[in-house]
């Protein structure tokens, strides 16, 4: 029996345990530092009278008292109602889009899915800029209404709470569409077929069976959109600051960047905002957990599509109308603005020029910011995904002592808005003896922290689906834990690792809120450069750079889509 001797030759069991233990400690320490440093710095800051790093300050409760001041209460109220109204519109429009595209005989479901996907990746600050160009008092829409049509009335003003809601909805409907699309497609067809067999018309089935079954998904999606709406920074800043509509995120920014500067109050506001988003995220996770027990079975069935009949024109108008407002019109306006020497709402009176693009091409600082963006996105996403992968493996598979804490730490950034995280890091790095402030590293740290939960959710989502016995079979077959992780787990979750990398790369490429308080002249990323041009009222430059950035984003999407479909062929 030579076989026994051969099977006995297992080595490295203890070494594997040691390596895994070391990796666990490293992961734990990294996540602890990333998440708890900014949060505890923020808490510290909220009890101080002075700015970060100033030696003079003292302890105080004043910042919390000021939370109850009229100004802050007003912004809190504005934040909440804008969040709720946006979320309500997003849910209605996003669900309607998904139902029309996937449950009726709508003619172009694939085209629509692609276009909505593009709209999802279209950065919110670019949409906001485009709609400011269109909807500001001297903008395109008013020019068309007044000069072209000669109307005295109506006039639009994007610089208003309505404007914030409008642009937020345009930007976030694709998110709702993408989150409810899965449940709609994968819903067990037999529920609906049973209702049809019981004599219900297609519309009744939709109303009485389909929508109630989607309840959990819709509730979860509603909360997430609410959180996205109240934590966003770019849209309320671009539209709300000129329009004097202040949300909590913008108030925090104003308190840090403009006098009278009050870092302590900003920290308290950041914590208050985090408390709201944190509570909402907690509720959302409860709902998803409860909802997982019901409805969606994973047995995708083909329900007969609802015929649109004579309402086809309405469905087409709805779908393509939305895409026009969210994607096409903004793109056209930005291209148009980028080609003008001086902005004018009348395309026949415009002086056209390439100079914005020439200037962009020749500007060192633009190239620098592109380079910075690529480093932040490329390298930062590698770090984020690696950390996310480790966390998922430890919390879902190995589950060593303390993994419950790791699991909790890793979801905390979900509840911390980007700008709040930025402020926390500002406080933290003013005290740490690390030469990080003003470097690209601090931006990477901010982005990785902010999007770490996205990485763990993506990778972990696939990891929990790998049956335990697949890994156990490898152990029994003679592989130690490290080896089994490497040869069984890693290959099986490879698609989700790629997916997470892509998700983080794109998120980092577009992120503005976590960087706005942390950038310096040398560490600008593209989004910040566009922002800066727009703030200087240099619409031409901002538009040119936006157009270029959008094309880069869409080109990356194209390449990835091509790679994925090529990969699927094997």
């Amino acid at each position: 029996m030579t076989g026994i001797a051969k099977r006995a030759g297992t080595r490295g069991g203890a070494a594997s345990e040691r390596i895994l233990h070391g990796l666990y400690l490293l992961t734990f320490a990294a996540v602890l530092a990333l998440v708890m440093l900014p949060i505890s710095a923020l808490i510290y800051g909220s009890f101080r009278t002075s700015a970060p790093g100033e030696p003079v300050g003292e302890w105080t409760l004043r910042n919390y008292e000021n939370l109850a001041s009229q100004g802050v209460l007003n912004s809190m109220w504005t934040t909440l109602w804008i969040g709720l109204v946006s979320a309500a519109f997003c849910i209605i429009l996003g669900t309607a889009l998904a139902l029309v595209v996937h449950r009726t005989d709508f003619r172009w479901p694939r085209l629509m899915t692609t276009l909505i996907g593009l709209a999802f990746y279209f950065p919110s600050f670019i949409v906001a800029m485009a709609w400011i160009i269109m909807g500001s008092p001297g903008g395109v829409v008013n020019a068309v209404l007044g000069d072209l049509l000669g109307l005295e009335w109506p006039r639009v003003d994007i610089y208003s709470a309505f404007g914030i809601v409008f642009v937020s909805v345009l930007h976030q409907v694709p998110f709702v569409y993408l989150t409810v699309r899965g449940p709609i497609i994968h819903m067990d067809a037999s529920y609906e077929e049973a209702a049809r067999a019981a004599g219900a018309t297609p519309m009744t089935v939709m109303r009485r069976v389909t929508l109630p079954l989607l309840g959990y998904s819709l509730a979860s999606s509603f909360i997430l959109v609410f959180v996205l709406s109240i934590e966003q920074f770019a849209v309320p800043a671009l539209i709300g600051i000129p329009g004097r509509v202040t949300m909590l995120a913008t108030q925090l920014y104003l308190l840090v960047r403009f006098s009278p500067v009050d870092y302590g109050l900003a920290a308290a506001i950041g914590l208050a905002l985090s408390a709201i988003t944190g509570a909402a995220i907690w509720a959302q996770r409860r709902i998803t957990r409860a909802g997982r027990l019901t409805t969606v079975t994973g047995k995708a069935g083909r329900v007969a599509p609802i015929p649109l009949g004579r309402w086809r024109w309405a469905a087409n108008l709805f779908c393509f109308g939305f895409i026009s407002l969210a994607l096409l019109l903004p793109m056209v306006i930005l291209i148009y603005t980028s080609l003008l020497r001086w902005f004018t709402a009348n395309p026949f009176a415009g002086m056209y020029t390439w100079r914005n693009y020439v200037f962009m091409w020749e500007s060192d600082s633009t190239w620098q910011s592109l380079w910075n963006t690529l480093i932040v996105s490329g390298v930062g996403a590698v770090m984020g995904v690696t950390l996310g992968l480790m966390c998922s493996y430890f919390t879902l598979r190995l589950r060593p002592k303390g993994h419950g804490w790791l699991d909790l730490l890793v979801v905390l950034p979900f509840g911390v808005p980007g700008i709040v995280l930025g402020l926390g890091l500002l406080w933290a790095y003013a005290f740490l003896p690390l030469p990080l402030y003003g470097t690209i590293a601090v931006i990477i740290v901010a982005f990785v922290t902010r999007f770490l939960p996205y990485a763990t959710e993506t990778v972990g989502g696939q990891m929990v689906q790998i049956d335990r016995s697949l890994e156990e079979a490898a152990w029994v077959g003679g592989a130690n834990r490290l080896r089994a992780a490497q040869r069984i787990i890693l290959p099986l979750i490879a698609p989700s690792v790629q997916g997470a990398y892509f998700l983080l790369f794109m998120a980092f490429f577009r992120e503005i809120s976590a960087a706005i308080l942390l950038y310096s002249a040398n560490t600008k990323v593209i989004s910040i450069s566009i922002w800066a041009f727009f703030e200087q009222a240099n619409w031409g430059q901002a538009s040119a750079l936006s157009v270029a950035t959008t094309f880069v984003i869409f080109a990356i999407l194209l390449v990835i889509g091509w790679l994925v479909s090529a990969g699927r062929r094997f």
Binding site: A8, T10, S469, L470, A473, V476, G478, N480
Partner: protein, 354 residues
């Protein structure tokens, strides 16, 4: 050699999944763990494999102590030299059949040439040579099960462990695989532990069967022994259909509740009351008046209350001697017909009634 388990226990928090289980399995012996769902079979098997950490007791495999939590000894699964077949097959979807089967050798650094010949042999044994380069997604359930089997036997492990390996297969395939697994184990001549809740599987394949209930062993024996001489109502019931007659002592012998004297097989003395257990195939069914008295045979008159025609025979339920008894017969009787049941004393086994 083989496997030796002494006083094994496993607690999940305050809950004892297994509480003090001991048994020995010799080399070449095929032993089943049989019991209802949740009785601790899987947990016992996983403790042997090292996938679950026992909280007490000792386990040796091939004479080597692999688990003794009291002494702080726990050999990890990958060092225990076992072959295991999982209920879900656990065939790795990202590897070809050949790579799946080669895995236990390749992680142990066996040379490529050696590996190839052993894999070819293992695949030949399970009849999958022609599918070596397929991926699991292109295989049927039965074929995946064979891959799992080949992977378990490659490189001659010290013991083979099976956790309900056939429960996901359809009935026809299951019977074929039973014979195959049994032959394979005989060829390898190593100890095998087979977990199942299917009594037919346990009875048809095993040298010995260990019946478990609520984390404890209730009876160990050969399949024939268990079926014919159950020592408790639970075992009698679990390993096959059984009729139970409530009995009490009457003089030197026993009597049923209606006072009829009943002859029973010689066995361990019970308390003042007991149950007489009889298998349906051991009951002779006679039409109403026919009485063919014979020594050592109990004759009980009763009434047919249910009849199920099953093809080869009809299964009758007869109320007699204060009990509902099942009996098989080829004759046709209507419900309500008076009958006489003939039960040889040797087939009526006493079990405690509590």
């Amino acid at each position: 050699m083989g496997i030796s388990v002494t006083d094994l226990s496993k607690h999940y928090g305050p809950v004892a999944a297994i509480g003090g289980v001991s048994f020995e399995i010799a080399d070449g012996e095929f032993v089943s763990l049989l019991g209802p769902s949740g009785c601790g079979k899987t947990t016992t098997l996983r403790c042997i494999a090292g996938l679950e950490h026992a909280t007490g007791g000792r386990i040796s495999i091939g004479g080597r102590l692999v688990s003794a939590p009291a002494e702080g000894l726990l050999v990890p699964a990958h060092e225990r030299q076992i072959g295991m077949v999982f209920q879900s097959y656990a065939v790795w979807p990202h590897m070809s059949v050949r790579q799946n089967v080669a895995f236990p050798l390749s992680v142990r650094g066996v040379s490529a040439a050696d590996c190839a010949s052993q894999v070819a042999e293992a695949l030949r044994v399970v009849g999958l040579e022609h599918l070596a380069d397929r991926h699991p997604s292109q295989l049927s359930g039965g074929q995946q099960q064979r891959v799992a089997l080949a992977r378990a036997i490659i490189g001659s492990p010290a013991v083979l462990l099976f956790d309900e390996p056939l429960s996901n297969l359809d009935a026809k395939l299951r019977e074929g695989m039973r014979g195959e697994i049994h032959r394979l184990q005989r060829r390898l001549g190593i100890a095998a532990v087979y977990v199942t809740h299917d009594r037919e599987e346990a009875l048809s394949m095993s040298d010995r069967v260990i019946v478990m209930e609520q984390g404890r062993i209730v009876q160990v024996g050969t399949p024939r022994d268990l079926y014919r001489r159950p020592r408790s109502r639970f075992v009698a019931d679990f390993v096959g259909k059984v009729g139970l007659i409530a009995l009490h002592r009457q003089g030197d012998g026993w009597a049923s509740t209606d006072g009829t004297a009943i002859l029973v097989a010689p066995g361990e003395p019970c308390g003042p009351t007991a149950l007489g257990a009889v298998r349906p195939e051991n009951i002779r069914l006679l039409r109403g008046g026919e009485v063919a008295a014979a020594p050592e045979v109990n004759l009980l008159s009763g009434i047919v209350t249910e009849a199920q025609y099953l093809g080869p025979f009809t299964e009758y339920v007869v109320d007699a001697a204060g009990a509902s008894l099942r009996a098989f017969a080829q004759m046709d009787l209507p419900v309500g017909a008076p009958v006489t049941l003939g039960i040889a004393a040797e087939h009526l086994v006493l079990v405690p009634d509590a």
